[in-house]
Symmetry: C2
Subunit: 287 residues, 2 copies
């Protein structure tokens, strides 16, 4: 687990921001607003952070959906209700068709916003869209996870990715591919509650999260499992470190095995409901 | 209104597709699948149709959110219930925060899928993501709509756009800017029901829709009002023509006045709920 010092440091930073009334500003201060004049614009530059270089969008030729279809059987974190679908308009009676949907925001392929874990930080609907276009790095731990459902992305996995692909680019989104997406149609296997009543699925270790948040420049991280923290975690340190820093998380990502480990671009169609703690998102990758 | 012949032709075509069991295939046959080998791929090429040229993504430097925030007061088409938000997890009791949402799919900035109006055609979740990245053309009728809330995008408006900007590119998404987005926080003015009990807001005339669907190559069309058909329409011909052809619509778009009329790219973070007739979408533009 993450050292108590790291957790305390994050909580301390969060408290300082709240005390200073900087929560919204701090979260809005993505890479885009570092560019001269950006704050005054309605539109925000598609920048990759650091020096404000624009993303090399021209090199992509393929698009991959990274989103699972939400159904009434979609596996949800234990304690949450299943999503409900009701047909409220139909062809026979109304001449057209529509459904009413009811669900908790943390259902399916979805976003965790800073406000999900830290009061006063940004709701999902407040995140600037410039943060929804980011270089994509995929860290593959699927081989390890196949034999150990408690596998976590460790700092060494981040360093190994960089050894192979070079330094993580500024403004990057880092996703864990644990192979878990293949279980989506088997909710029991996806949730994977053990005889010990603990959940057993992979996630980001808090130390790796701290490395990415504090020593790299990420817009967010994502997993193909139910939670950013691995299932057996007894606290939510990865959530606190990531969301407390104003970054967002994505959970339940699909098809990460279909995109390259480096060089892609993630597009996050995040939710825009008032006071959203997160919510179902349409996530795509270009490569 | 559209000629009965056009409507009948569309309905006839739809019937033929259904009879042949081609509905899904016909809808999935976007520009991407015209490329050799595309059908066999998990990922689909980001192509602009016709000759399968890739989109010139490299020329964009700005991103603009085209999405309104959905609130309990968001104006909805008369007859639909207002969306409901319930806080189901809170910091005091649970240590974190989450909402439960309930809404009809046609709420806020949202998609209309072919299945919304034509039984057997594609649900929103079945549309290939390659159709969610498209050249963006904005037809501005805001000056006319300011004095006439019944203004419609006419075939002449399409031709005028082309006179100024050149032929509509293949695979284009055509959006109407009527200035209506400025009314979003005043539901009464947005819905604009008259003393005649008819709605009065702009939309696409069926003849313009038929021109775009039959003589141009669009992935979809969008409006900044409550409906693709203008408010006073007594039938939904524009819906039938567009959705019947397997294209999608977007309603309630925001900030179309902030993006250029030509040269942009729309990104549609469409819904991925099972059997979706449409649904709230995160829509962005690059330019």
């Amino acid at each position: 687990m993450c050292s108590p010092q790291i957790i305390e440091a994050v909580r301390g930073e969060v408290s300082r921001r709240r005390a200073l009334g900087l929560a919204g500003a701090a979260v809005a201060a993505g890479f885009a607003s570092r560019l001269p004049g950006a704050a005054a614009q309605t539109a925000t530059p598609v920048a990759a952070g650091g020096g404000g270089a624009t993303i090399a969008l021209g090199s992509y030729t393929q698009v991959q959906d990274l989103t699972h279809t939400i159904t009434p059987e979609t596996p949800v974190f234990p304690g949450y209700p299943q999503p409900e679908f009701e047909t409220v308009r139909n062809f026979d009676e109304h001449g057209f068709y529509a459904q009413m949907l009811s669900y908790v925001e943390h259902t399916g392929t979805h976003m965790d916003a800073p406000a999900h874990f830290v009061e006063g930080l940004a709701f999902a609907n407040e995140l600037p869209v410039a943060q929804f276009l980011a270089p994509l790095a995929v860290i593959d731990i699927s081989e390890r996870a196949a034999s150990d459902p408690d596998a976590q992305v460790m700092p060494d996995d981040v360093l190994a990715w960089e050894s192979e692909h070079g330094a993580l680019p500024a403004g990057v989104f880092v996703a864990m591919n644990s192979g878990w997406a293949a279980r989506i149609d088997d909710p029991e296997a996806f949730i994977n509650m053990g005889d010990d009543d603990a959940l057993h699925f992979p996630g980001f270790h808090p130390d790796a999260t701290a490395l990415l948040v504090e020593e790299r420049d990420v817009v967010g991280i994502g997993v193909d499992t139910l939670s950013l923290d691995y299932g057996a975690a007894t606290s939510f340190d990865t959530h606190v470190i990531l969301l407390g820093a104003g970054k967002y998380g994505l959970e339940g990502l699909a098809a990460l095995d279909a995109v390259p480990a480096a060089g892609g671009l993630v597009i996050v169609g995040g939710p825009k409901f008032q006071n959203a703690s997160g919510g179902p998102s349409r996530v795509m990758a270009l490569y």
